[in-house]
């Protein structure tokens, strides 16, 4: 009741503006949900029917064939396994290194702070670019190894700045109390500072995990063996290059049937591959704001 009265407080022309606004917002929401709904529905429809008449609610034309074929394909699972390994290793490495580096950088008394700061900031503006980096990775013997994907980006200057800003917001009394108690750097950092920084740690971890999970460029240039491909590369050949994994469609007799099936497999592949993050991200909603705000304070 109270909400209604609040809306009623607006004068008539304001109500009109608001209603137009709400409609626009509603359209945007529909524009997000509609393609998703279409993909979900289409993934259940027989390939021939989908090709000829599109979506149908005649359930006799529905099938789980696409899911069975995608789930029983080994390469998809290899992709999942690799994506999990790379994302977890990258997230742990990156968050640990970044949180550690941010601590001295947050202390005004740290000697060499200016020097390190300059060194780090320069890399945000200037870099060697694709080929020099590729040649370095190649010379280090890291081609076709997980480390090529996981190590070079493990320290993020931007995230370090965010963590540093967050540390600086922690009351100094905490540190002074610790120093009086004779706590060492390590004790203060791990026992006192980190426990009050969980929101920012969760935020950074989420960013790094999602970023690694969803990227494909580094894996594309550095990893050649099929056994090392992360999920996104497997998806790329199915969704973008129109090359379903061997075995997914090869039992079909005609070229036309193979093409129709390959098309249907795309829908199921999209659903299966997106499911983990789609299920997980709502649980992180409370951390979205904290991270963005910490980054915005000192750009």
């Amino acid at each position: 009741m109270k909400k209604k009265s609040e809306f009623a407080k607006y004068p008539a022309e304001d109500k009109a503006i608001l209603i137009v606004g709400y409609i626009l917002l509603g359209l945007f929401v529909v524009a997000i949900l509609l393609p998703m709904a279409y993909i979900i529905l289409a993934s259940f429809i027989e390939p021939v029917t989908l090709q000829n008449s599109g979506l149908t609610f005649d359930f006799s034309k529905w099938t789980l064939m696409a899911y069975e074929r995608v789930i029983s394909n080994a390469q998809i699972w290899i992709g999942f396994k690799n994506a999990i390994i790379y994302s977890v290793v990258f997230t742990v490495l990156s968050v640990v290194i970044t949180l550690l580096a941010a601590y001295p950088m947050s202390r005004p008394d740290f000697r060499g702070r200016g020097l390190f700061n300059t060194m780090f900031i320069i890399t945000m503006f200037f870099g060697g670019g694709l080929i020099p980096t590729y040649l370095l990775i190649s010379n280090l013997g890291m081609l076709d190894s997980m480390w090529a994907v996981v190590l070079p980006g493990a320290f993020s200057v931007w995230n370090m700045i965010i963590a540093r800003t967050y540390y600086q917001g922690v009351p100094r009394d905490l540190q002074e109390a610790a120093e009086i108690d004779g706590a060492t750097e390590m004790v203060y950092f791990f026992k006192i500072l980190l426990p009050v920084c969980t929101p920012i740690i969760a935020t950074l971890a989420m960013w790094q995990f999602v970023g690694m999970w969803n990227s494909y460029f580094d894996a594309m240039i550095y990893l050649n063996s099929a056994s090392k491909q992360p999920l996104q590369l497997v998806l790329r050949s199915i969704l973008i290059q129109n090359q379903p994994e061997p075995g997914m469609v090869s039992d079909m007799q005609s070229t036309a049937a193979r093409a129709q099936l390959a098309e249907l497999l795309k829908y199921a592949t999209i659903i299966i591959s997106s499911l983990p993050l789609m299920v997980m991200y709502p649980f992180f909603q409370k951390y979205f704001d904290s991270g963005i705000m910490a980054g915005a304070v000192k750009g």
Partner: protein, 313 residues
């Protein structure tokens, strides 16, 4: 902490060095445990490749290495800058990011204003959850969805009653790229504005309502001032990034037939360097892009700094 760093009366050069050494010995953990990993990663994976840009001035041969390859001066740059493709790739890159910025920038601000005016907290949260969702879809899946929806028999064509193959049309590429970018990113980008808006004091707003201010006046007097600085800084930062437009999405939306519009500098660098093995030339093109980028970023950064000191123009 203060045994030998006694109040430095006249900190001569040797005194400063001495103090630093004492500090470092006392706080060795800060150097060895905290900053060393980040320092090494930066040195190896950022600074060594910076030296590698010398390849841009060489006829680089991977078997002879950096020391054995021949210097060619600015030959690669001349070849690129005088080639007819150069202007097209540069224009494609700039158009994609500048138009993307012009179309895409206002949408999150508008979304934030609207979200801020939703009275029910529960509904607002649910809408936000939907708005954030596309951010968690990967580039490959996004481009896969785009290709499905835009295929000759896809959803868009059946809605329009046509059977156009949009993915092969150069003139459609930018629209596809920018629209799908807004679809994916606008909700997520609105977070920063929503957060800034929630700082707009409730009291101030109520006072404005009591004063009889209408919606437009309230926005002008209360909400716009609350997010003005954020909007300006975001805009300037994005202008600074127009040359660093990403590789992944453009490459995943490329087809042989839309290359006229979809070949941008980063995809060209990849094809020349990794696929053709033309290391020197590819590095030169990349370096050219980086240099423009640095100039843009540094000047935009200067503007932001000046704004921060003057508390927002």
């Amino acid at each position: 902490m203060n045994n030998s760093t006694s109040p430095a009366q006249s900190p001569g050069k040797s005194g400063v060095i001495h103090n630093t050494l004492v500090y470092m010995r006392q706080h060795w953990q800060l150097y060895v445990l905290f900053i060393l990993p980040a320092f090494l990663l930066t040195l190896i994976f950022k600074y060594i490749p910076m030296g590698g840009v010398l390849i841009a001035f060489m006829d680089y041969n991977p078997f002879r290495g950096l020391l054995g390859s021949e210097w060619v001066g600015f030959e690669h740059f001349e070849r690129f800058l005088t080639s007819p493709d150069f202007l097209r790739y540069l224009a494609n890159t700039l158009k994609l990011s500048v138009f993307g910025l012009l179309w895409g920038f206002p949408v999150p601000i508008l979304l934030a204003f609207l979200l801020n005016r939703i009275l029910s907290k529960g509904i607002k949260r649910k809408i936000q959850l939907v708005l954030y969702m596309p951010n968690f879809v990967s580039v490959i899946v996004l481009c896969g969805i785009v290709r499905i929806l835009l295929s000759p028999t896809g959803m868009i064509n059946s809605l329009l009653g046509t059977s156009a193959n949009f993915m092969t049309m150069p003139q459609a590429f930018r629209t596809i790229y920018i629209a799908s970018g807004i679809w994916q990113g606008a909700g997520w980008a609105s977070i920063i504005y929503t957060a800034a808006l929630s700082n707009a004091s409730k009291d101030l707003k109520e006072a404005a309502v009591i004063d009889g201010a209408n919606l437009i006046q309230q926005i002008k007097a209360v909400e716009w001032p609350a997010i003005k600085d954020t909007v300006l800084i975001q805009f300037i930062m994005q202008v600074g990034n127009v040359m660093s437009i990403g590789f992944e999405k453009a490459y995943a939306l490329q087809t042989d037939l839309n290359l006229n519009a979809s070949e941008i500098i980063s995809t060209y660098v990849y094809k020349k360097g990794i696929l053709d093995g033309d290391y020197g030339f590819s590095t030169a093109v990349g370096l050219f892009n980086t240099v423009i980028n640095v100039i843009l970023l540094v000047s935009m950064n200067k503007i932001v700094q000046r704004m921060n000191e003057g508390k927002g123009i």
